[in-house]
């Protein structure tokens, strides 16, 4: 898919390569680069996923990075049904609804 100037996109870039990171980090973190994701309107005339592009964020700042998403949307949800939670309400209502309940 080709994204056009003005489209809402998401970019990614590397802020610090592993060897440029702060010295006092746990070993697992030290091995990874510091990465960044930002959304904005495409400034580049036309671009495909993985192209290096320029965007303008919602507040008007220009940023460069690799195009990774076109019309980025939120995918988070309320999660799965958690059967382990289902006893709680009735347990509490049973305790509260004992002999001195109104």
């Amino acid at each position: 898919m080709i994204a056009k100037k003005g489209d809402w996109v998401r970019i990614h870039n590397i802020v610090l390569q592993p060897d440029k990171r702060a010295s006092h980090l746990p070993d697992d973190t030290k091995k990874c680069p510091l990465e960044m994701w930002v959304k904005g309107f495409l400034v580049t005339e036309e671009a495909c996923i993985d192209d290096e592009v320029v965007i303008e964020t919602y507040i008007g700042r220009k940023m460069e990075g690799t195009l990774i998403e076109f019309n980025p949307s939120y995918q988070h949800t309320f999660g799965d049904y958690i059967p382990e939670l289902s006893y709680i309400g009735n347990q509490l209502r049973a305790i509260l609804g004992g002999e001195d309940s109104e």
Partner: protein
Amino acid sequence: MSRDNSYEAIMSRKNEIMKKAVGIDYNEFEREGIAFDYEEMMRKTGYSLDQIIEIEKNTSIGNTPVYELKNLTKLARKLSPSGKGARIFLKDEAANPSGSFKARRAAVSVYHAKKLGYKGVVAATSGNYGAAVASQAAMQGLKCIIIQECYDSMGKGQPEIIEKARKCEAYGAEVIQLTVGPELFYTFLKVLDETGYFNASLYTPFGVAGIETVGYELATWFRENENRDPDMVVVTNAGGGNLTGTARGLRKAGAKGTTIVGASVDLTGLHMASDSQFNKKSFTTGHTGFGVPFSTNPDRSDVPRSAARPLRYMDRYVTVSQGEVFYMTEALAMVEGLERGPAGNTAVTAAFDLAKQMDEDKMIVVQETEYTGAGKHVSAQLSFARENGISIEIGDPVNQVPGENIILPKHPSLIKAKELDMMKLKKSYIKNLKSDKSFSDKELEFIKDETRLSIEEIEKIVEQL
């Protein structure tokens, strides 16, 4: 000429960048050695309580409702010896425009930034504060950038943080999402340097003074409705600002007899800067990973001197487990009809157990709630925990190991607030001051204010170091 933006270059310009970005000359309050004049800083750089009330009123913040949690009180009484079980109250801070008490902190910072002529505000936060700053910036007409620690190196992010990004973007903020690491601070400084925007830090005097209204409103509400001050106020403790501000507000209202209790989720053993442990946390705030280090070393924050100094105000500090908080979040919804976000219910969980230890005629207050929704919900957080290999069990929470399992108490009588040793925290605080020489009289006076220990007690601790 373009500036050097390498890690070292930005970090070495830290003081210069900060000075421009907060508009406070912290040197003015430095006294001798480790000592600085905290009250002078709060007075000279902040706003009076009346001014803050006015600023917050302008964007309809505050005067949030107080609920008496009658069913949870009844439950606590059923599980405690006769005559025990204090009345439990809740201040519903989710009723603020951005869905949490953080709107109070943000209102003053954004107001101040605007007054000083800054074009925008920047905050480094994964949480409710980002949403609050973004909301206030939208209301007061400033630009806003929120910087988040959001993903691990696999690009996997906690639903709670992703929800907060959504909320910030809904208010028109630019959200910069990063992988795990303390260099969030580097990015923050770089953005401040590039934009010349205001540092809406949680730890400036504005950020903390904004919360004083919570304490003040509580004291006023209890006097008007119950004819006296609450006996105990429980505050979810992370960076310390919530506790500090609430306690200061209570004091300003003259409520000197109210016991202030900090409550955090126990995440002992999980390293906060570890890429692989990042998503083993099923809580992004209100936990010991922030609560303990920020209490014992408050100036580790993003301003030279933090206005959040919880040891000055905290009478007791308790921890609860994630399973207990998730259980109480369900309880709050199921028997009180209040569906609120889990992190804010840390204090509810602690209060439920503390109420059982208090006499029936006492009153205990939880001073905040937060909004809930997709990503910031018990089922979202538990689903994510399960995806990350954490087992979800029903049993005794005493067996919970952070990062390995989450245990929902099989019965509410198993909910226990664990007491942390305040003396130990105060000792750590003194140890963190790391002075090779002995403290001067002025420095000892400062430590006395910071820890509420006597000079004799402090000297004894210093000797043992």
